[in-house]
């Protein structure tokens, strides 16, 4: 066998191996989603969205769970978005030279890899106890904000770095200050990337369970929250709770709730992709 023949066979083999790997993941995902759809799709109706949890599976709903998730989402975004974007701007545009900023940089990358339960413990100590926010939405939102902050910071920095230096030079050259340059040129040009990162970070926060359990989110909440200081539950905790019940009806409920949670995540990811494409089309250097 000639060498080139051998190479061609190797090429082909690797191609099939790659296809197999890809399909393995896709097939697993399809089986999982298919299963859940079969179990849960028929369970979803308006009542399911409007009912409070109950001891009887067929009367139970996810009202407290999705409203809790929504509250958590809003406050997490309110906290993490300005903090993360501001930190990203500082690190990229202002703090370049100091050794402090390079120390910060390393630690932010490290933070992105810390297991989420550790954030839960941190939140428990700082927000629940020291700031005495109790087991409230606010405590949960602060904790999740900490968790996604590194993601937002990294996304912001990457988006800012993608703005060509020539744009900054043009702005400075006209007499703009650093603040004006960042605010009028750099930020608008990098908003697509920043939004994409923020949405992806938030869609991760929607699915987080462990840190919220640690800061005291409840498995059973008989009311919908009406203020950020109220106790709460969220979708994944509700799902976890139902899955661990022996009654078959609750398993069906869990499947239905999973469908809704997946839907939320898919929609958010869709928005992120849409924004990225829209901005990329508008701005091509």
């Amino acid at each position: 066998m000639t060498n080139s023949k051998k190479n061609r066979i190797k090429d082909k083999l690797f191609e099939y191996f790659g296809i197999a790997c890809t399909f393995f993941g896709l097939v697993m995902l399809a089986i999982f989603i298919g299963n859940i759809l079969i179990d849960g799709l028929t369970r979803i109706d308006l009542d399911f969205l409007q009912n409070l949890p109950s001891r009887k599976p067929e009367k139970s709903g996810i009202l407290t769970a999705w409203t809790g998730s929504l509250w958590i989402l809003c406050f997490t975004t309110l906290i993490a978005f300005p903090l993360g974007v501001a930190a990203g701007i500082y690190l990229e545009e202002y703090g370049k030279k100091s050794s402090l900023s390079s120390l910060l940089e390393v630690n932010i990358s490290n933070l992105a890899g810390v297991p989420s339960i550790i954030y839960g413990l941190l939140g428990l100590e700082i927000f629940v106890r020291v700031f005495s926010l109790g087991n409230s939405i606010l405590a949960g939102a602060f904790t999740l904000a900490l968790l996604i902050l590194p993601i937002i910071i990294v996304a912001t920095r990457e988006a800012i770095r993608a703005v060509p230096p020539s744009i900054r030079a043009a702005s400075y050259g006209l007499g703009a200050s650093k603040w004006q340059t960042v605010w009028h040129q750099v930020l608008p040009a990098s908003m697509g990337g920043i939004f994409t990162g923020v949405i992806l970070a938030i869609s991760r926060a929607v699915g987080e369970t462990a840190p919220l359990i640690v800061v005291g989110a409840l498995a059973y909440v008989p009311f919908t929250p009406s203020s950020p200081m109220d106790e709460f539950t969220v979708m994944p905790i509700q799902i976890f709770n139902w899955v661990s019940r022996p009654l078959h009806g609750f398993t069906i409920n869990a499947a239905a709730a999973i469908i809704i949670l997946l839907l939320i995540t898919f929609i958010m990811n869709g928005i992120a992709v849409y924004l990225r494409n829209k901005w990329q089309k508008k701005i091509s250097w």
Partner: protein, 255 residues
């Protein structure tokens, strides 16, 4: 003398370093008001660096260090009291590669005024129109000022950048190889433009194109490896240069 009226810019014993690299060596050069000065010389000799000395755009480079004095109308621009943003309103710059903002044509040209806090819509529109006219672009874009500047051709983009610099009515215009990315027709337009702008502005232009230097400039400065070799009237430089190096460079006999 530094406060002599017909000189607007002057560098006095200017040395520039990028870290270990001695990029400009003891440069003494005066630039006449309402004239066009061409900076020529081989790649890496320090032309862009010297140009950026005048509007302090080198300040953003970490390793940059400058010694000596640079005067604009008698004022030392590296003095601590000097506000860099004020300085740059007086000394506009056009870059080698067209770099319009990813915004509309109007926003591009009005930006320099807007950051000065000017909000008067009529005044802004007036200035935008005038600047675009000066840049010989008005007729081409007057109907779609809202169009993104990125949708224009390279030559049009460069003229947007020129209009943008003119809109704040500077006294001096620094141009770093403004036509190197342009086709001959756009180049001709920009050169024509430089000739007209001379009435009102002082222009310093870096160029690799000897014909361009002789066409547009009144004075020419030849740089070589960080040294200013020769600075004289353009016709003298091109007809009978005093230094052999200059002669070799402009005739293309450069090793």
């Amino acid at each position: 003398m530094t406060n002599e009226l017909n000189y607007i810019l002057e560098s006095k014993n200017v040395n520039v370093y990028y870290g270990e690299l001695h990029a400009l060596k003891d440069i003494n050069l005066k630039i006449q008001k309402n004239s066009v000065t061409a900076l020529i010389g081989p790649s890496g000799c320090g032309k862009s660096t010297f140009l950026r000395v005048f509007n302090r755009m080198n300040d953003y480079i970490d390793s940059f260090k400058i010694e000596g004095d640079v005067f604009m109308e008698g004022q030392n621009i590296y003095d601590k009291k000097v506000r860099v943003d004020e300085l740059r309103k007086n000394i506009g710059m056009v870059f080698q590669k067209p770099n319009p903002f990813p915004k509309s044509i109007y926003e591009n040209v009005a930006y320099g005024l807007k950051i000065q806090g000017i909000k008067d819509k009529e005044f802004l529109m007036d200035r935008v129109e005038n600047s675009l006219k000066q840049a010989a672009l008005w007729d081409e874009v007057k109907d779609d000022l809202k169009k993104s500047a990125l949708a224009l051709s390279g030559g049009q983009q460069q003229r947007i950048c020129i209009a943008r610099a003119l809109a704040v009515e500077p006294n001096v215009l620094l141009m770093d190889e403004p036509t190197s990315a342009l086709d001959p027709i756009s180049t001709a337009k920009v050169e024509e433009l430089i000739n007209e702008l001379k009435e009102k502005y002082t222009i310093v232009i870096v160029t690799h194109n000897m014909q361009q230097a002789s066409r547009v400039s009144d004075n020419t400065a030849f740089f070589y490896m960080g040294d200013l070799i020769e600075h004289a009237k353009t016709e003298d430089i091109f007809r009978n240069p005093k230094k052999e190096r200059t002669q070799n460079y402009i005739t293309g006999r450069f090793g």
